[in-house]
């Protein structure tokens, strides 16, 4: 432990704590910008590069200004955080950042969610006294998912840290130097030319609007207002535990009913649930798992719900293309069923149906556009909006989500089990699959459906499940950096698993690239996680194969898991992508 004094207050902190940690301990606010501490995931961007957190430090008589976010405490240190000098330096640094930042706050997608803007407000900067040449770059909207506007980049390098250190995707790196330095894909080429998997973690990390999603709101408005189209919407599991935050509800508020009501107010013809197709996914995937385990081939089976991770596989581990489950993701399964089974049921031509997804994810936007998911010009899913975009639409339409009375999903694609909702958290897919696989293999009812070993935020979770004497080794990993470790093991033949769940985003979809911004506060994720499992707990039906509408779907249409029709509609394949 070290004792230091901050603004005349004594504080005792752990030896490896920073001045910022110590200040937090005693409730002293020090502004930060480049600093990002994703404590849950052991990822910290503390480059000390923005210099907004400068404080006066006196270490045994040696006086110097130091960045609070990355200066370790030292016994006897005397820190001042608010001297006129410190304030002056911070103001000047802020002025400098603003002098190279476009003044587009009014029209900026991050307005009111921008950390730079918030600081300017906090420092009472009403005039930019410092002006000069500005960095201007072409906006990269080459992809379906992520928009890069480097003129808004403040070189905090958070995106680089999450892309390279956390996700090990390694697309974003510092490029050039001096005033011209930016964070960019190799040779400043568009993202589509890179190995970007569109997980969107960079977007979540960006304090400004240098990285945002590609926005499809106006397309969706157009579709809704087109009288010739039947426009239906599906909502991913994690959306319901995030959307409330956008309307001032406390983090972890379960907003399923309000969400459904809100979507109906927007004018969708039917409001469905991706959870339905999550149950469907389990039917197909559990079947596939059992087949493979029985034959003891092509193991471990890897989950395939997450398009970010599938992209990662296609770029980085082409030699493992044969092991993921061939199941399409719930989003795509939903679209495929909606435009066949459902369309037929209501007598609408598939080409007259528009499927909109509300996803916590940016890779889903890309996934919807994959060639394999377009048949005869008909796409499974037409538009993908993030949780954030949906909130925007609702606000635009004057719908106060938090004031709405709960409503139910429509049928037949709205009913779901508890097993489906947990898809939104890391470990959920595997747990759901185990619930079904167990009963199918043993033909017995599973007493305790909770597989708690695979829950939680840790990067890698392992468990061995005894299914009637068959020891099934499973692993759950989230975050592509963790995935890389496991995949490398598999590649080398060092892994002894039967099934592995992989999610690109640390913690799973509840921390997806399309969720409301948490600005580094990972405790919000814990609350979303809790909410997801409490929905599961509250459900009467907690196993996918017990979902009556799923049963009906097989009875009326698909026949059985793994059937020819299932394969046609619900399964896919993977391709090597060139680095």
């Amino acid at each position: 432990m070290s004792r230091i004094t901050i603004n005349d207050i004594q504080v005792e902190v752990f030896k490896d704590a920073t001045i910022l940690d110590a200040a937090k301990e005693v409730g002293i606010y020090i502004p930060t910008l480049c600093h990002l501490d994703l404590e849950q995931f052991n990822i910290e961007n503390k480059a000390g590069s923005c210099r907004i957190c400068m404080v006066d430090v006196d270490t045994n008589g040696r006086k110097k200004m130091m960045p609070a976010c990355c200066t370790p405490v030292e016994e006897g240190m005397v820190v001042k955080t608010n001297t006129p000098e410190v304030v002056e330096v911070r103001r000047t640094v802020l002025q400098l950042l603003l002098s190279d930042h476009p003044f587009e706050c009014l029209t900026c997608p991050k307005s009111l969610d921008c950390e730079l803007q918030a600081l300017a407000k906090k420092f009472g900067i009403y005039e930019v006294t410092c002006t000069g040449k500005m960095s201007t770059y072409e906006i990269d909207h080459s992809s379906k998912s992520i928009k890069r506007d480097l003129s808004k980049c403040i070189m905090c390098r958070r995106c680089e840290t999450v892309c390279t250190t956390m996700q090990t995707v390694g697309v974003l790196s510092g490029f050039g130097r001096g005033f011209k330095a930016v964070v960019a894909p190799p040779e400043m080429e568009p993202l589509t030319e890179s190995v970007c998997v569109f997980c969107g973690q960079c977007v979540n990390a960006c304090p400004t609007a240098a990285l945002t999603e590609i926005n499809y709101i106006s397309d969706v408005w157009k579709a809704i207002n087109n009288p010739n189209k039947k426009v239906i919407v599906q909502t991913a599991p994690a959306v319901r535990v995030g959307i409330g935050e956008e309307f001032g509800l406390p983090a972890g508020t379960e907003a399923t009913g309000m969400l459904t009501a809100g979507l109906r107010r927007l004018g969708f013809d039917a409001v469905f649930d991706t959870n339905f197709s999550a149950d469907l996914t389990i039917m197909e995937e559990a079947h596939e798992l059992i087949e493979r385990v029985k034959k003891n081939e092509n193991l471990p089976i890897l989950t395939s719900c997450c398009p970010g991770w599938i992209n990662f596989l296609e770029f980085q581990f082409p030699e493992l293309l044969n092991i993921p489950s061939t199941c399409k993701s719930p989003q795509q399964m939903f679209g495929a069923i909606a435009k066949s089974y459902y369309a037929e049921k209501i007598g609408v031509k598939p080409e007259d149906m528009v499927v909109v997804s509300i996803m916590p994810c940016l890779a889903k936007k890309y996934e919807a556009s994959r060639e394999e998911f377009i048949k005869d010009g008909i796409t499974d899913v037409d538009y993908v909006l993030t949780t954030r975009e949906l909130a925007q639409m609702l606000k635009e339409a004057g719908i106060n989500l938090d004031k709405l009375k709960d409503e139910e999903y429509d049928n037949p694609l709205g009913e779901s089990s508890g097993a489906a909702v947990i898809f939104g958290a890391s470990g959920g897919v595997l747990e759901a699959a185990l619930r079904t696989a167990y009963e199918w293999i043993t033909k017995k009812t599973l007493g305790n459906v909770n597989f708690k070993d695979v829950r939680g935020m840790e990067g890698v979770k392992e468990a061995t499940v005894d299914i009637d004497g068959l020891k099934v080794n499973v692993a759950v990993t989230s975050g592509l950096g963790n995935a890389r470790k496991i995949l490398t093991k598999i590649k080398k033949g060092e892994a002894n698993y039967h099934a592995i769940e992989i999610m690109a985003c640390p913690g799973g979809c509840l921390n997806g690239g399309g969720q409301p911004y948490i600005h580094g506060d990972t405790s919000i994720l814990d609350k979303r996680l809790k909410a997801i499992y409490s929905i599961d707990e509250s459900k009467v039906i907690r196993k996918s194969h017990e979902n009556p509408y799923i049963k009906k779907l097989y009875d009326e249409f698909l026949i059985e898991p793994g059937s020819h029709k299932s394969h046609d509609l619900l399964h896919t394949q993977y391709f090597k992508k060139n680095k």
Binding site: T164, G170, S173, G176, P186, E187, V195, K579
Partner: protein
């Protein structure tokens, strides 16, 4: 070695083979976290072989050293020594160290620019000449200094620029004749 890649970017296969041999000789362990330590020397070698570092070469290096392409590109863009576009066959480098600067290197540079009708950092349209500036070659006693390819010219005045250029223009011409 991926021969498609060489074809794709139209660089000679032999050059890739040479680079491949060099990287092979380093015996890089792709799982060693210190593998990045080889990157800069490999880039030096590659630039020596190819004359510049186009994307195809970058990707080849990324693959063979075991680092992301973004790291390779990020490093190249950081260091002045590396270039991703071909330089002129004859490279004129004007030293802009302080000693040269106070002795009129700026004027010498302008004169070269005027003479060749290209700016600092550019290559002439025919690809024959390029001009760039250097930050001190440590020959301050001879300031201002100009280096053409590897030859150092000291105490260069604006009036000598034409004479120096004449040497290389003639040389170019003789080479062309021989061909």
């Amino acid at each position: 070695m991926d021969s498609n890649k060489t074809l794709e970017i139209g660089l000679p296969k032999e050059q890739f083979e040479e680079l491949d041999r060099y990287i092979g000789s380093l015996k890089i362990d792709k799982e060693d976290e210190r593998r990045t330590g080889y990157l800069i020397q490999v880039l030096h070698k590659a630039q020596h072989i190819f004359g510049y570092l186009p994307v195809g070469v970058q990707k080849f290096i990324a693959e063979n050293v075991g680092v992301p392409h973004s790291d390779v590109s990020g490093v190249i863009s950081f260091y002045n020594y590396f270039t991703t576009v071909p330089r002129g066959k004859t490279r004129i480098s004007v030293c802009m160290g302080t000693a040269c600067f106070v002795k009129g290197a700026g004027k010498v540079l302008s004169e070269f620019e005027r003479y060749l009708k290209i700016k600092n950092g550019e290559v002439s349209e025919d690809g024959k000449f390029s001009i760039d500036i250097l930050r001190c070659v440590g020959a301050c006693g001879l300031a201002p200094v100009v280096i053409v390819n590897d030859k150092v010219y000291g105490n260069v005045t604006t009036k000598q620029v034409g004479d120096i250029m004449a040497l290389y223009i003639n040389e170019e011409a003789t080479h062309a004749d021989k061909k």
